[in-house]
Point group: C2
Chain length 387, copies 2
């Protein structure tokens, strides 16, 4: 297997992109990544497109071939990867495997979702497809409801408080404020989060990531030729993925995501690194409780210790470990298929030292963590600056 | 890159499977493949699941993780692959890449679609997502309509007749009659096809593949350890894939699928074989005209010559080249995500000499050809018996 690097990154502004359809969003992010990588269209050998539910959001399946066509390489093989909200991270892993295998050299990994063409109720129903339709969603529970169950159990077992959860939102909006591609440029006060409308007790609307349009893309190449394209290739030193039951009821615990624990362990083992080696991380904060679970399941904190640490500011920009510098799903927005790829884009910029106002000083090693549904898929990648 | 083989194959009966949901279909085919391969659950390292539109058919996305769970390996990484009706073939290719790369040893590739939980009109709309939603489907054209345009143009350019197209349906129903897993066990007379109701002129209902439920699965392993599991591993000697524009209007020709031409060329080059080396082929006959296009685009016949050859019986069972011995999409049924995997299952049986009443005498080399939409994706695999 060959070493693989990211040689280009592109993204759109996330948010309510009324003026752009799915294909325009894909083209915008894809062309930015191609230009950044300094590759020509004819060099592209394969396209991976991560997207969750374009059939339900806009009536369009078969999106990867559309992406290839929009980017100007019509006959290049393309596949869509879907793993609910982990579609982007899963697409990145498949692109990584394709380049590592030697079967393809230059590969485009795109992620996209166009969610605002349907109303919020339809969007919530579509997103419900990430959980167990037959045993969960058809009974009436929504995604905020599933995470609310996890949050409540975490409060009972570890004394986690609503204020601690709210502090995740405050931190991530603070980071988003410094990211021009983020959906929200509005700082939040803890009190605002606490007073916001309850969606699924104990989660309030400001504990939840928004419905968003957006796209992101990275270009992968074998590490040994990456320098031809880019002075600072970002080496993918670890890639781990794992699954779990779709339905919460079949799991042993509500306060941990086993898929994240396994995926993280695999990525760290491959990278020969430990959590303490990570300088900057993008973790999956679809709800504030999810960031707390992630920080524990990835081994950054012992079970039950992350909430207080986050509330104490340990994961703010340029503190002990800078987490969700992009603003995370909460502040940057969550076009579901794009999120996992956006994490790789943010970490590429951070490790190159190009993250401007939100640059983590001396960032050399980054981690991306992308979750599908309520944890039935988890994908973890570890990146290292290689110049 | 390592050589890769199929070591197990499983399938469900295709048809209107009112008694079974998506998860039961997946489990049925998957367990049959696992037993056939004689592998233990703990040996499985990765799951690829091909399915087109489960979100629209049954409200369920995130199907690969569900498949892994249903088959008893809950924490194994899983990804769903979607490329419209080429989802199954695309999943097979990704599984092939994963094993070839050395990153995984034993991999499950499943394909499934549960289409009959919605009515025919909703199913037609969902399938429309395989074409260009913005430039084709939203204008009112359906999938039979797109293929009717290709059929009419083929008639004008090459003198192809409706009777010749109908002969494809007659042949494939004859093969399906000998396949206990096929949706239809009804022989057709040419006259019956000709008199059937027009769906999109010149295509009649009996020129069209049906709406179906069903699943199929194969187990892949590195060739060098395949004999440990199976006396007759089926070696994947060629794998090619290509894309094209989603919309017909953007193509140079309506009478050829460029994606099939490129994918076929790549697979033949890798296999170091020519069309004349193939003994048995499963090609994508979503409509009768599609089988004619496939036979030409894959190089079995010159452009304009396939229709007469098929009508003359050259591709019947145990004639010059046996095509669609399973019954094809037309006779065996077309649960879209399952079709590409079913082709691999049928060829595994043929090359092992286990195809019973429909066994092609002395079959040693087989070809599978799976198309997405109206040709925006095409995937070709070539298989060889390796004992």
């Amino acid at each position: 297997m060959r070493d693989v690097a990211i040689i280009g990154a592109g993204i759109t502004k996330f948010g309510e992109r009324w003026e752009s359809g799915l294909r325009e969003l894909m083209a915008e992010a894809g062309l930015m990544a191609l230009q950044d990588a300094n590759v020509e269209s004819k060099e592209i050998e394969m396209v991976y497109g991560g997207t969750m539910a374009p059939g339900r959001f806009i009536g369009q399946e078969h999106v990867a071939a559309l992406l290839a066509d929009q980017l100007g390489f019509r006959n290049v093989p393309a596949v869509r990867i879907e793993n609910a909200c982990a579609s982007g991270g899963s697409a990145l892993r498949q692109g990584y495997i394709a380049v590592a295998s030697g079967i393809h050299n230059i590969v485009v990994v795109g992620g996209v979702e166009k969610m605002t063409d349907v109303n919020a109720s339809e969007a919530t129903t579509a997103l419900g497809g990430a959980g167990d339709q037959e045993w969960e969603l058809s009974q009436g529970i929504t995604f905020p409801g599933l995470y609310a169950l996890m949050a409540r159990r975490h409060m009972i077992e570890y004394g986690t408080t609503e204020e601690q959860m709210a502090s995740v939102a405050v931190k991530n909006h603070e980071n988003a404020y410094r990211n021009k591609y983020a959906q929200f440029h509005k700082m939040l006060k803890l009190d605002e989060v606490m007073r916001s409308k309850r969606v699924a007790d104990p989660l309030k609307v400001l504990d939840c990531s928004p419905i968003s349009d957006g796209a992101a893309a990275v270009i992968l190449a074998p590490l040994d030729i990456a320098k031809k394209y880019n002075d600072t290739p970002i080496h993918i030193v670890g890639s781990g993925q794992a699954s779990d039951s779709l339905s919460l009821a079949e799991r042993d615990s509500l306060t941990e995501l086993k898929a994240t624990q396994i995926a993280g362990k695999r990525a760290f083992e491959q990278a020969k690194l430990r959590p303490s080696d990570i300088n900057v991380a993008e973790v999956h904060d679809c709800f504030t409780i999810a960031e707390i679970l992630a920080m524990e399941d990835l081994g950054f904190y012992e079970k039950g210790k992350a909430a207080k640490a986050i509330a104490d500011g340990e994961t703010k920009l340029n503190s002990k470990l800078s987490v969700n510098t992009s603003g995370g799903l909460k502040g940057c927005g969550h076009p579901v298929g794009a999120t996992g790829v956006k994490q790789a884009v943010e970490l590429t910029w951070q490790l190159r030292g190009e993250a401007k106002d939100r640059q983590v000083n001396g960032a050399e090693v980054g981690l991306a963590h992308n979750v599908g549904g309520s944890g039935a898929t988890s994908v973890v990648h570890i990146f290292k600056r290689s110049n």
